[in-house]
């Protein structure tokens, strides 16, 4: 039976690839796209999400717009250098026809989860603001969500937006804290594994050769993303596989080697946005008496369920899986 998922997203070039892969998969039913600020402003993200559902006749998939700001602070800048001003590589695509769902993204998530108890997987691939909002607005969704499989964070690899932080978590660390502490199952597909799954220029060429509208769009928008990887990492035309790795995990979790441990998010100071993967359960056991966030220089000492963290992957098989998905119609 197809997995029911809501993709919470800030398209975004790698978001685009992930969304198209999910829409192509017969084993995934996308119940909706919910948009959040992140790679660019939420209004642009919503436009891009509508474009993506319209591209290959998926207009029946609702798109609901969500938060334009992190929960607590003001957004200071978007990742325009990575994804382009409008989020799709500065390609100025024609405006979409469709209309947004009238509900706030958080409300859409709540309504969908409540209507499909124990069936819906939340797949956030942008900052976690909407997910945290949905939980705070309606805590009863936590036991009813099947699981949360997110792209974000890094257990043991360096950060990408700062020395220690991954971009999605960095853009709203408070929201991330809420998500990791809430009583539901979370899978954190982070930089530990996504930076090891590399799409080479040759791989991308073969991908584009399939010629369907999805890969044609990717061919158009990818160069901006490739340029960023060249500039930051010296990768000549190759790119990391962040958001699409979530889709690969949903379809074939056996391709990933995971460990379970609680994750804490730093919400202030130099390490803001860092995901602390507490392998030996140090943090809670040493802070049993304390309460609240902000006690230990920006790390909450609140007991929480363990998060499943993919640390290694069968990279070739993941790339193969994504290739097959994206190149079929």
């Amino acid at each position: 039976m197809a997995q029911k998922i809501i993709i919470d997203t800030d398209p975004g070039i790698d978001d685009a690839m992930a969304i198209l892969a999910a829409l192509h998969s017969p084993d995934i039913e996308v119940l909706g796209l919910t948009t959040v600020f992140g790679n660019t402003a939420v209004e642009f993200c919503s436009q891009n999400a509508l474009r993506l559902v319209e591209l290959e006749g998926n207009e029946h998939v609702p798109v609901a717009q969500g938060c334009g700001q992190p929960l607590v602070h003001d957004i200071t800048s978007f990742s325009a250098g990575v994804h382009g001003k409008e989020g799709l590589g500065n390609t100025d695509l024609p405006l979409p026809h469709g209309k947004l769902d009238p509900r706030h993204a958080a409300q859409f998530i709540i309504d969908t989860v409540m209507a499909n108890p124990h069936e819906v997987i939340l797949a956030p691939i942008g900052p976690l603001t909407n997910i945290a909002m949905a939980y705070r607005l309606e805590p009863r969704i936590a036991p009813l969500v099947k699981e949360v499989v997110l792209m974000g964070g890094s257990a043991f690899a360096p950060g990408n937006i700062t020395a220690v932080a991954e971009a999605n978590i960095y853009h709203d660390p408070h929201a991330a804290e809420v998500v990791f502490a809430a009583p539901w199952k979370v899978v954190m597909v982070g930089l530990d594994v996504t930076t090891r799954i590399v799409m080479t220029p040759e791989y991308l060429e073969k991908l584009y050769a399939a010629g369907n509208p999805a890969v044609q769009l990717l061919e158009k928008i990818q160069p901006c993303y490739q340029a960023f990887h060249e500039q930051l990492y010296g990768m000549k035309g190759a790119i990391h596989t962040h958001d699409p790795a979530v889709i690969a995990y949903l379809l074939k979790p056996e391709l990933f080697k995971c460990e379970d441990m609680p994750v804490y998010v730093v919400t202030e100071g130099v390490c803001i946005g860092k995901t602390i993967a507490d392998k030996h359960h140090h943090i809670f056991s040493s802070a049993q008496q304390r309460k609240g966030i902000g006690e230990e220089g920006g790390v909450a000492a609140v007991e929480r369920p363990s998060t499943t963290i993919p640390l290694q992957a069968d990279e070739a098989s993941v790339l193969d899986l994504l290739f097959k998905l994206l190149t079929n119609n």
Partner: protein, 308 residues
């Protein structure tokens, strides 16, 4: 003069209960609804108490249930002040009233739209509901005329040396509210610690004879005992002072100020940092009440309670 349309956001709570007694009789206020929040005690109790108080007062307005805890932090309580049921152990009358079907934040938005910009909020508990409403509805700040809070203090604290309880309970929510773009009138400890009613004055209220007047005196007795341990004779009428301010601020002294909430300082978390005259010259986003004419306040309370 048209009464001001208001929503009372609260966590009954003993002094919230007194605020109800007074709000019903204030001619300047048209209380459209009550929204409940977790604060003095948990949400189940505060909501139950809100319904029970309306039953006790024969007051027919809706109650909307709000947040069961702060936006980020673990919930803290003040049960040692308000009793484990939030009402000093008093049993309010049973009621068939129920909470309405939508959440507090959705209700706030709904009423704000209906009132076309004249709605005011009186918030006498942690500010979680208001913060959630602002996060969910970006158009909401334009639709609310002003917010009067019981909370915070320019110069002192009661939950900790630096922080007042309502703000301490949810500092992130409070900062969201102060930054939302709606003028916030902060009836904080600087003023409310002067809004004292003495045991004699409480007895004079009870002597009015109505069941409401007697309840007024009786429900605060545990707090009077609590305050005497701090060397204070009587009870500080925190929430009632805020409600009276919202109706008519002529017996108060308030000053424009820039106010932000400290969410991170290890000693000052939950402090409402108030810029009245520093060199930093923060932009003014609200008012801080610093003084009250105590005698006039007590007189007003007496007049309002006489109406029962």
């Amino acid at each position: 003069m048209t009464p001001i349309p208001v929503i009372l956001d609260c966590d009954p709570g003993v002094d919230d209960a007194i605020a109800f007694l007074l709000a019903k009789q204030l001619p300047q206020l048209n209380v459209l609804a009550i929204t409940s929040v977790a604060g003095n005690v948990g949400l189940e109790y505060t909501t139950y108490n809100a319904l029970g108080l309306l039953e006790f007062l024969d007051w027919d307005i809706p109650v909307y249930r709000g947040a069961s805890g702060p936006i980020f932090r673990k919930r803290v309580e003040a049960a040692e002040v308000h009793g484990s049921n939030g009402m000093a152990g008093f049993d309010l009358p049973h009621t068939r009233r129920e909470v309405e079907g939508i959440n507090a934040w959705d209700a706030i938005h709904k009423y704000a739209v209906e009132q076309q910009g004249s709605l005011e909020i009186i918030a006498v508990g942690p500010l979680t509901n208001l913060a959630m409403a602002f996060l969910k509805y970006p158009d909401l700040p334009h639709l609310i005329k002003r917010i009067v809070i019981m909370g915070g203090a320019a110069s002192e604290g009661n939950a900790t040396p630096a922080a007042e309880f309502n703000i301490y309970a949810d500092p992130e929510a409070a900062d969201i509210v102060f930054c939302a773009g709606v003028p916030v009138h902060m009836c904080g400890l600087d003023m409310t610690m002067k809004a004292l009613m003495t045991p004699t004055e409480l007895d004079q209220i009870a002597a009015l004879g109505s069941k409401q007047a007697i309840f007024f005196r009786d429900v605060v007795q545990d707090i009077v005992v609590f305050m005497s341990k701090l060397g204070i004779t009587g009870i500080n009428m925190h929430d009632p002072a805020a409600v009276l301010y919202a109706a008519d601020d002529s017996i108060f002294k308030a000053y424009p100020a820039g106010i932000r909430v400290e969410t991170k300082g290890s000693i000052t978390q939950g402090k409402t940092v108030t810029d009245l005259f520093s060199d930093a010259k923060w932009p003014k986003n609200g008012f801080v009440a610093m003084d009250i004419d105590r005698e006039a306040f007590v007189k007003r309370v007496f007049e309002l309670m006489s109406k029962y």
